[in-house]
Symmetry: C2
């Protein structure tokens, strides 16, 4: 086989894997959205079968050989081919280091962990889930040894979600930011004291119509997507021109569904903006979880919670809920949408305190992985860090260490991505604002096309051509930093940071 | 490999194929129910890929060898294994006779035929679709030669839908029945003159609620199924405990949606009644399209349109549409639900004239396949037969020869199954009524459990253990005949057949 044959093998196989991943996404979407309850066992078998097929395609010796040969001849490849070979090889290299037995053991422990967590969380029964969590942590530690690392074992886990990132870079950024935020959160939170949820009754079908209208206005094409209802909001890509989002509804408060929609729309816009002729190859894939989160949180927070957006939002809100809108002006909307309060639950956290939730988890993950913390004392360690960063302790473990599914389902090293999204997007938006000086007028009018075009051109269209750190440098001329986000928060909420006074 | 190994190979492979078919069903269901419009191209590729995988599993040399070895050692197998080997071998033998080139050519022509039909049907442009239809007929003729037959080439096509049936048996049954019906249709239709559609406005969501309630009452478990809305009603099996139905709604008439639901519920009850521990093997599969249709039409017509059902239906109808129900009593419901009228469209035909539509198609298929009729003169031949059997001619070809998708998408030999369903189920119900003497009292009460249990025990639970002809003999002690259906019609509509006068 010559290089052309190897390239053909690479792309044919990636195309098959892409098809299988889309099918897997449909099986998962349906499972969470419309599947009849008694079908769950049969569905699990279908999903497992597709995973197995995908794994087989990805580990086929002929495929691996082609990737290896191409990787040895990078200089003879086009730019895009080089990116694709680099990224496929990176994923393959990781996989090759993990024996089949290990992968199976991890999958089993993750499945049992998830099931156990679902059953034990309502009663905060940490003792019951502790053994499997200890096993998951042990597996994660072994994974770091198998994958290898040059600096810190945690890097081996982080790399699965945030390629080319290291704890030595991420940790100072996030802990440094958390320290600065810690100093100003009380002052910001004081401004929101007495602000409760918006009053009124919000019919679900009207919330749906409003969410749909706003997602459309942001640029989400309902000819290539859908908005459905699930217990937990998510975005999933089922295939070309098929990127779906979901949200959840509370009839006494329209904000969770609305910001769920905006957040998932941000994810969907990224997926729909990837170069269509590169789909299924790294050049047509998102950079990292952190960059993905930068796109969702850009629309949810930086755009969706700014002053000028309230002008637009109030207009749409008045259309769908005229009575409620009559008793809540743009300022009232802003206050409800931006309420800052140090609290227990990450997924309900505001844009300011969110980082603190992540830093707590990152520090605990680091300690668990390096062995300085054991699962036995995790609940206390959790509360101690919450006390430090947010001044709260969880009255029950279900709102404490048991609140997130991640660890219990085997995902350790994922959390930093959420907070890195804020660093990425605050730097991006600062640059975008220079390119679009009248951005706020556009937002107030409900015209988001230039912002979307900017993200398409600067982020989406590149796929994985640039790593996360390279991409932000290319856009802003600077390395990833947290100053921009800290300053954005201080300015938005009108506080002066102590060290800057 | 010994017989045990071959059996393991057989069942492992069938299990994989079953999983793939369920995935294919989900891809198809989603395509028709919820898929965003722009996703159609990507979805087609996903469906094609799953078909290819299924085909590969089914034609894998090791699998074929195992089936062949088992087929040579039937005497050493259990009863169920024998059935499974017999049926898998039958399907394999058919497939082995069709070269890959031929299968690809047929798939291509069918896809083009379908697309062309969709585009040309609205304007009745038969000339535009004629070339591909001629090609499809030519392919069908070649298929009969490739598959082989002992009596009539049409048998080779019929066998794909109605295993073990031959034209020499089916044709006299259906044409004989059609002659008898032809003699009494005018008298029956005269009783319904002046009966139009039910008056009133029928909100879609209330129609949905009514359909759901009735399907539940019939025994359809919504924990293992769903009811959604599509352009054309269908039933599909996505996996164990996942059998879904759809219907379509007209807000000026509740009957099409309602009887669509009951019909598809009948199909779903059959699928859900197949032995769960045999799913994916012939012992857990339906006998034939005709027996499947016997179950849908049993509930739709024999149960759903009988007098005693109107007592139940009127109660449910009054709950969902109290105003409309106040001006329509049980007798009015019966008249609307049973209106007999010789007309043009098969899918809208009543239970009496339905056979005529099928016989027209069967005779045309026979003539096309044997070469005595060419596609050029098909439209006239169609109308001539409609004139003979129903006394109507189509003013436009879209309501004539172009009304059904079947031929244009490559399905020739399918139609008889629809009418055979009526023969099967009228004989079944006659027997069931002897076992359940107070059937009508039960139906009037809305208690369908004994009827369902009877079909489960006598039909569903056997899977393909008996062929269609054997099954009906086993149930009734008689060979499949059309007298029972003809007599049922004459009695129900209170007419005396001329030859019996």
């Amino acid at each position: 086989m010559n290089l052309t044959d190897h390239k053909k093998k690479l792309y044919d196989q990636l195309s098959e894997i892409h098809t299988l991943r889309g099918i897997d996404a449909l099986l998962g979407w349906d499972q969470q959205v419309y599947m009849p309850p008694k079908a769950s066992e049969g569905r699990a078998a279908q999903i497992e079968y597709v995973s197995l097929l995908t794994h087989r395609r990805f580990t086929e010796p002929e495929f691996i050989e082609s990737v290896d040969v191409l990787a040895e001849n990078l200089d003879q490849l086009s730019d895009d081919d080089r990116v694709n070979v680099r990224e496929v090889k990176r994923a393959l290299d990781r996989q090759r280091k993990l024996p089949d037995d290990f992968v199976a053991e991890k999958a089993r422990a993750s499945a049992i962990g998830y099931d156990t967590w679902v059953k034990t969380r309502p009663s905060s029964d940490f003792e019951a889930v502790k053994p499997v969590l200890a096993q998951i942590v042990d597996i994660a530690r072994r994974e770091t040894d198998l994958v290898g690392y040059t600096e810190h074992p945690y890097d081996a886990l982080l790399d699965a979600f945030e390629p080319y990132s290291k704890l030595s870079a991420v940790k100072p950024l996030l802990t440094g930011l958390a320290e600065r935020l810690r100093a100003i959160i009380p002052e910001i939170a004081a401004d929101f004291e007495g602000i409760g949820d918006p009053e009124g009754a919000y019919d679900e079908s009207r919330q749906y119509a409003m969410g749909r209208e706003i997602a459309s206005d942001l640029g989400y094409d309902f000819q290539s997507g859908r908005l459905d209802k699930t217990a937990h909001p998510f975005m999933t890509t089922i295939g070309r021109n098929d990127v779906r989002i979901t949200t959840r509804y509370f009839e006494d408060n329209f904000l969770p569904a609305l910001y769920g929609v905006i957040h998932e729309t941000g994810h969907a816009l990224y997926e729909l903006g990837l170069p269509p002729d590169r789909l299924g190859t790294p050049c047509g894939e998102p950079v990292s979880m952190g960059v993905h989160e930068s796109q969702s949180r850009l629309w949810e927070n930086l755009i969706g919670r700014r002053c000028s957006f309230m002008e637009y939002l109030h207009r749409v809100f008045s259309k769908h809920f005229p009575e409620a809108a009559a008793s809540m002006d743009e300022n009232g909307l802003w206050m409800h949408a931006n309420k800052v309060k140090p609290d227990l639950i990450r997924v309900e956290a505001d844009e300011v305190t969110y980082t603190q939730h992540i830093v707590v988890r990152m520090l605990l993950e680091e300690a668990l992985v390096s062995g300085s913390l054991q699962v036995d004392t995790l609940p206390e360690a959790w509360d101690d860090l919450y006390e430090t960063y947010l001044g709260v302790r969880s009255p029950t473990l279900k709102d404490g260490v048991m609140q997130d599914v991640h660890w219990f389902s085997g995902a350790i090293g994922y959390f930093p991505s959420y907070a890195l999204g804020n660093l990425y997007n605050s730097m991006m938006l600062q640059t975008a604002q220079k390119a679009i000086p009248d951005m706020d007028e556009q937002i107030a009018r409900g015209d988001f096309s230039q912002i979307l075009a900017w993200t398409r051109k600067n982020v989406h269209e590149h796929g994985m051509r640039f790593t996360g750190p390279d991409l932000i440098k290319r856009i802003t001329g600077r390395d990833l930093e947290s100053d921009t986000f800290a300053e954005y928060v201080a300015e938005k909420f009108g506080v002066t940071e102590p060290q800057r006074r």
